[in-house]
Point group: C2
Chain length 443, copies 2
């Protein structure tokens, strides 16, 4: 029997905790190092992405480590989008052809706590909080941390980074020759606002992801178990109707009331939220390779540390969870040869991460602009019609992304094939009509 190896996982967020679960089940000793304080005692930070949409990919990963039921207890299913027109008119679009499938609104902090508890309940897993990584030697696996008790050094032959979009570990790998990296910011910022419960009830339908599409800007809202909604405003950073322009509480409130009137009426704390919540940034980060091999250690990247995406497809966490599943599969296939498994994992996952990064950028345009148009609604109706007509053979991209575990790049290839087939059938039908008309005329 192989001696259990020690693995350091940097970051005890969602992906770090799931990584620990998978590794513990393979018999590894895992230490989670986390920059923040213990989330089981601390309160959530204000103004940071408070809830997220968990869908099939994430659930599939959680099922494999037996955490799906615990997580889903606090989930609020959203089977479709509810669009809010400027005049307050509502229109609902189901996400699936049968209207039954849903993505799930989950509190990020709640999810993190559940997953951390799940990880720490497994033999061999421990966590060190308030450990901020300040140095990493890829050759030796030596890590420097700043802690409340001063700097400490720890080492591990296997270091896995799940420390998010601004990963300190990836920051170190960036200095290695041959390490490709990019960070691309959108010219948009985001700010979180709240629609509190009204008389103890949800102020909007909790069975939907709410969208206020406004062309170059938008707001979304997801329900919380306490019957409030967390709203996120996505606005340009500069130019007309931007955070730069609307830089006082008065200007902001006036513009907001004019463009999001129905929401404004539900936000008693708007001025306070505006003043206290920071403007967040939207970035796509790409890196490759996702591992680095030193003389005596190997370092790997998972989740946002390897591929941060913008939030518009609701796939950031789901995609990160898939990384953990794939790494586990590669460890199985390579007989737990970590360097080999990490290389294989990166080579398999990279195209899928690149695909969802592109889809997430495209979906921003769809959400803020297209969903409000009639032709888009018609297209969605035709799509769902085709899905019902050809069950399992014609499936929309949204459904394949959100309600299946078909790898993202495979989804894209399948969508391309489907569209070609539909065009061919349509042209064939037109030709048939033409021939029939010709025959009729000859009579």
């Amino acid at each position: 029997m192989r001696a259990p190896q020690e693995v350091a996982v940097v970051g005890a967020g969602l992906v770090g905790c799931l990584t620990a679960c998978f590794l513990a089940r393979r018999g590894y000793q895992v230490t989670l190092y986390e920059r923040r304080s213990d989330p089981r005692s601390a309160t959530a930070e204000r103004g940071r992405s408070i809830n997220l949409a968990l869908s099939e990919r994430g659930l599939d990963a959680l099922r494999r480590v037996g955490l799906d039921e615990a997580v889903m207890k606090a989930a609020l299913p959203m089977p479709g989008r509810m669009m809010h027109a400027p005049d307050g008119t509502l229109s609902f679009q189901p996400y699936s052809a049968d209207g039954q499938r849903a993505i799930n609104s989950i509190s990020r902090s709640e999810l993190n706590r559940t997953m951390l508890e799940g990880a720490l309940a497994l033999p061999g897993v421990r966590a060190r909080f308030e450990h901020r990584l300040t140095g990493l030697d890829v050759d030796s696996g030596l890590m420097d941390f700043d802690t409340p008790d001063g700097p400490v050094q720890r080492s591990a032959q296997i270091v896995l980074a799940a420390d998010g979009a601004y990963s300190a570990v990836r920051g170190r790998l960036q200095f290695l020759p041959g390490f490709d990296f990019s960070q691309d910011f959108l010219d948009y910022g985001y700010k979180e606002l709240t629609i509190p419960a009204r008389d103890g009830e949800f102020a909007l339908d909790p069975g939907a992801l709410h969208i206020w599409p406004r062309g170059q800007a938008m707001m979304i809202a997801l329900p919380n178990p306490d019957r409030s909604f967390t709203c996120t405003l996505f606005w340009p950073k500069s130019g007309p109707g931007s955070f730069d322009e609307l830089d006082t509480a008065e200007r902001f409130e006036e513009f907001f009331a004019a463009n999001y009137a129905d929401a404004r009426a539900l936000m008693p704390d708007l001025a306070d939220d505006y003043t206290h919540n920071p403007i967040g940034h939207l970035v796509t980060m790409r890196a490759y390779p996702w591992h680095a091999r030193g003389a005596d250690a190997v370092v790997g990247l998972l989740g946002d540390a390897a591929h941060a995406v913008v939030p518009f497809y609701g796939q950031g966490a789901n995609c990160g969870f898939e990384d953990c599943v794939e790494l586990d599969r590669c460890l199985e296939e390579t007989g737990d040869d970590f360097p080999e498994a990490l290389a294989l994992y990166g080579s398999r996952r990279k195209e899928h991460a690149d695909t969802i990064a592109e889809l997430a950028l495209e979906n921003f345009v769809e959400m803020r602009d297209k969903v409000a148009s009639r032709s888009f609604l018609l297209q969605k109706r035709i799509e769902h019609g085709l899905e019902r007509l050809l069950p399992g053979r014609y499936v929309s991209r949204y459904e394949l992304v959100s309600f299946s575990t078909v790898p993202y790049a495979e989804v894209q290839r399948r969508i391309t094939r489907q569209r070609r087939a539909v065009v061919a059938v349509a042209l064939g039908a037109l030709a048939a009509v033409g021939v029939t008309a010709g025959l009729l005329r000859r009579r």
Copy 2:
């Protein structure tokens, strides 16, 4: 009269020195901070890009600060390419239609010394060597340096970074939200080799840039004033015929002798060069914006720090020199409003830097592969024929890049227009031939 402002220029390489020259002429106090020791006393580093091709853009910039003559004293003009076939056959391609225009082989260290001396001869310019930047606060302009005498702090309200592809200053800006950045490595490495003088004479024609195109790999050689040639081998990092595969002196020498036979015969020190010279990396770095504004300071990027390109168009230094010219122009236009001038400079230069980055990547394929083909040689001959036929109206891309100061993106647009016109004329000519043939047949 405005009080002379203090500017810190990080990096006393080619672009840093030229920046200092331009600023001193505008009346600024300039301090150059350089990581390396004083190049006027030190010997050049071994195995680093020892010479470069200076062309019109670089010369134009040097003329503006009166350094062109001093620099050109040590230049060796190369009016064309000399291709070395595997069997040793030579073929020469002039770079210009008239065969007279030349790019210039210049020693990088010699050029650096001349430019540093030129900068330090101007009033208000001073240099601090062995100052390695370890920290920068964009708000205050406070800089931390490691020096042989321990750490020191300096500050300046204007900090300009000309510290190269691996810029420490840009490394700090990368943590600012909204700062886009990418680094993309080629799967190729490079190694420098030497063809020494033979009986006191050049062993190859010094009036050419020599190329050994070998499909997936190549070697180039540029002449030096001491009658040696500096050769640079561009090989894949892994796979057949790669640095990885040919990792012992024996394997390397055997492969080299088989594929570069004529050069091998001129390299008595091949084994020594192979063993001692490191394998360099080829990277394209993109960043934007090229400046950052703090509360009390502004930081700007110039040259490789803003846009490192691969060396295959011989434009890295030339492009960096153009940055200095543009920044000077923007200072003039804005009445020396540094933050405004830096914003304007970046917005104007970015597309040109992106264009030359792409052209340099494309030219690698041309140099290692296409130059050896007959159809490419024919195309070049037709191109030069058109240039002689339509002087000043049809100009090849290579000439516009190397022998003009037409901005790079403008070159690309002009080439597109030219190609369209040639295709239209050719189609017109074909049509005319067809009509004429038809008329003749009717008679």
